[in-house]
Amino acid sequence: MSEKLYQIVSEVFNVELNKINDNTSPENLEEWDSFNFYVLLDQIENKFNIKFDLDETLEIKKIGDFKKLFEKYGINT
């Protein structure tokens, strides 16, 4: 599941897969900007077939935070 998540992140931000890990965040990835974060969110929601609540999306500070949300929504990671 990590693999699928990282794959989406790598595609949206157009960076190599091996640069992505749970600690990837706007601080250490310059390709991550405020608008393409929404694009990422939209892609993850579509590909995993879930819809996050607005407040949940505001809590996402790094890629690993998506995994916590997956757990909450019963998606195995």
Partner: protein
């Protein structure tokens, strides 16, 4: 959704577009009342795919008013040629969007007039300061009213307010030839409000079109871009077996192909009906099929459920040649460029072959399910034109006439004999309200036999025709196979002792029959009668106008500096096989 269709793809592609020197160029401005992130990137990628070199300007967040009203704004410095003004209903109505009935009905009525004036003023200002074409998105009609089902009893309810604003903007600006409307409500009808709008994205970043649907919205914008730069495909080339009917005529036979009476057959009938409608508005249809001619033409002529008949096709190639050879022949017989073609074929191998050999042809990725054919066709945005003239609708008949002319020419053999038997007539007429749209269209679209390639909008042609010192005339050509419509234009500037030819052009399908010579010779005769000594004209070379290169020289003009000059005392070359009628 395929990856090439999602916004992430466009955002990333946009970063890697290299500066290209395409022939088609366009300055596009996006002015919006909400965040337009992603729109600009997508439009640049799509333009690049269509070989349009596009530069863009995006107004800062909600700064469209300042951009438009200040004559020295960055927007005007950018020199836009196409401006999208994308306004949204929440922004325009403000609080009234939520509480329409807190305001008395009279004030609500006045509000409609005020908003219509404001928006009209914005449009007129853009046009006045920049001469850019403006594409306005109309306002989204709300699907919710606090009055619920009783909203319909309410005078000037919120839905009616929005509908009235949309209608009035259209009606009050209908004479503004530089304004077009992008029907936003149609866009929503197509994809659904629940899909195209996301509250979460709206609250997060003032996005009024959801991320997933931004590329779809840009597709609608591209219809206008294509029309403005003149990417209007002229001809659809069709395979027959499993494309126009189900099955293979050579194997299944006349009685067993699927056309009409079963679910599969209905899908082909639907596809043909959509094609027929495009044909009726002027898109040429042609056949490119590997088949025994007699088997296939029998279906076209005699099958009871066939919608398209032999006369709907401007060119028919049913033979055992490969698809590329046939496409070359179709292009040469119709006398249009391969870049005007859209190619439909169910066979992926044929499609790959054509794609590889002729990259200027649009090869449609036809799905294997024929139920999708009609939809694939109606979703295409390459047949757009900002205005369809009467000539466009007549064009299909002209190409049918053209096909018959070629058959006649082949039968007669000798070209001069052929010309004599064609009974060509040329009607020369001063520009009037009927012909002005067509004259403008010809100056915009004619590339080959065009001596100066000056492009003129309708309002320019109309002011030239009012000018006593200018001659603006058109030539309408007909022969024994039918009317070719208005196909020639010249614009002449009259000075005391000389006339200067500003524009002289002839539609490519008429070249080579002496029409250009009769147009010029009668013009010179007229100059001679009015005691004008000299006729002058320039030839301005472009990539495409080689066919006109030697026109002045062969007519007897002498080169002097930039100009070609004809002394009106000289004898005039005048084709004998053409009858000229002058209608003033």
């Amino acid at each position: 959704m395929k990856n090439e269709e999602n916004l992430a793809y466009f955002l990333n592609e946009a970063k890697s577009i290299k500066a290209q020197n395409f022939e088609k160029k366009l300055q596009i401005a996006l002015l919006g009342s909400f965040t337009l992130n992603g729109f600009e990137e997508t439009i640049r990628v799509k333009c690049n795919q269509q070989k349009i070199e596009c530069r863009t300007y995006v107004s800062d967040y909600n700064q469209y008013n300042q951009d438009i009203l200040k004559k020295d704004s960055k927007f005007y410095q950018f020199k836009p040629e196409l401006t999208f003004l994308i306004l949204d209903v929440r922004h325009i109505l403000g609080e009234l969007y939520f509480h329409p009935y807190s305001t008395p009905v009279l004030e609500r009525k006045e509000l409609v007039a005020t908003k219509v004036n404001e928006i009209t003023n914005l449009i007129k200002t853009i046009i006045k300061y920049s001469n850019s074409r403006v594409i306005l998105t109309d306002l989204q009609v709300p699907t919710y009213s606090p009055y619920g089902i009783s909203e319909q009893n309410e005078e000037f309810g919120v839905k009616q307010i929005v509908r009235e604003i949309n209608t009035k903007i259209r009606s009050e600006n209908k004479d503004e030839s530089l304004l077009s409307i992008l029907d936003f409500n149609e866009f929503i009808q197509k994809y659904g409000e629940e899909n195209i709008f996301s509250y979460k994205q709206f609250f997060s970043g003032d996005m009024k079109i959801s991320i997933e649907y931004i590329p779809k919205f840009v597709d609608e914008m591209m219809r206008f871009v294509n029309a403005v730069v003149g990417i209007t495909k002229k001809c659809i080339v069709l395979d027959l077996d499993n494309t126009l009917w189900g099955g293979i005529i050579g194997e299944d036979g006349f009685d067993n192909i699927k056309l009409g009476d079963d679910p599969i057959g209905r899908s082909f009938v639907e596809f043909q009906k959509r094609l027929l409608a495009l044909n009726q508005r002027g898109i040429i249809l042609a056949i490119n099929s590997k088949n025994n001619f007699d088997d296939a033409i029998k279906v076209i002529n005699e099958h009871p459920n066939m919608i398209l008949r032999e006369n709907n096709f401007g060119c028919i190639k049913i033979n055992w040649n490969d698809k590329v050879t046939n496409l070359h022949e179709i292009a040469s017989e119709l006398n249009i460029g391969l870049d005007s073609f859209v190619f439909f074929d169910d066979d992926p191998i044929n499609r790959e072959f054509v794609k590889n050999q002729l990259n200027q042809v649009i090869v449609v990725d036809l799905p294997s399910d024929s139920a999708k054919f009609a939809h694939v066709l109606t979703e295409m945005n390459v047949f757009e034109s900002l205005m369809i003239t009467e000539e466009d609708a007549k064009r299909k008949d002209m190409y049918l006439g053209q096909r018959k002319r070629v058959e006649f020419e082949n039968k007669i053999g000798d070209f001069n004999k052929f010309l004599k038997q064609m009974n060509i007539q040329v009607l020369i007429k001063k520009a009037d309200s009927f012909s002005i749209p067509r004259i403008s269209q010809l100056t915009l679209k004619t590339n080959q036999f065009n001596l100066t390639t000056k492009r003129y909008q309708q309002d320019q042609i109309s002011s030239f025709s009012d000018d006593k010192n200018k001659i603006v005339e058109s030539a309408q050509v007909s022969d024994k196979f039918g009317d070719n419509g208005i196909t020639g234009v010249y614009i002449v500037e009259k000075k005391d002792t000389e006339w200067i030819i500003d524009t002289f052009l002839l539609s490519c399908r008429i070249i080579g029959r002496g029409v250009e010579d009769i147009m010029l010779s009668q013009l010179i005769e007229r100059a001679r009668k009015e005691n004008v000594k000299k006729i002058k004209g320039k030839f301005i070379p472009t990539i495409k106008n080689k066919p006109a290169e030697n026109f002045y020289k062969e007519f007897g003009f002498k080169e002097e500096g930039d100009f070609w000059i004809f002394d009106t005392e000289q004898t005039i070359k005048k084709p004998e096989h053409i009858k000229m009628i002058k209608n003033e």
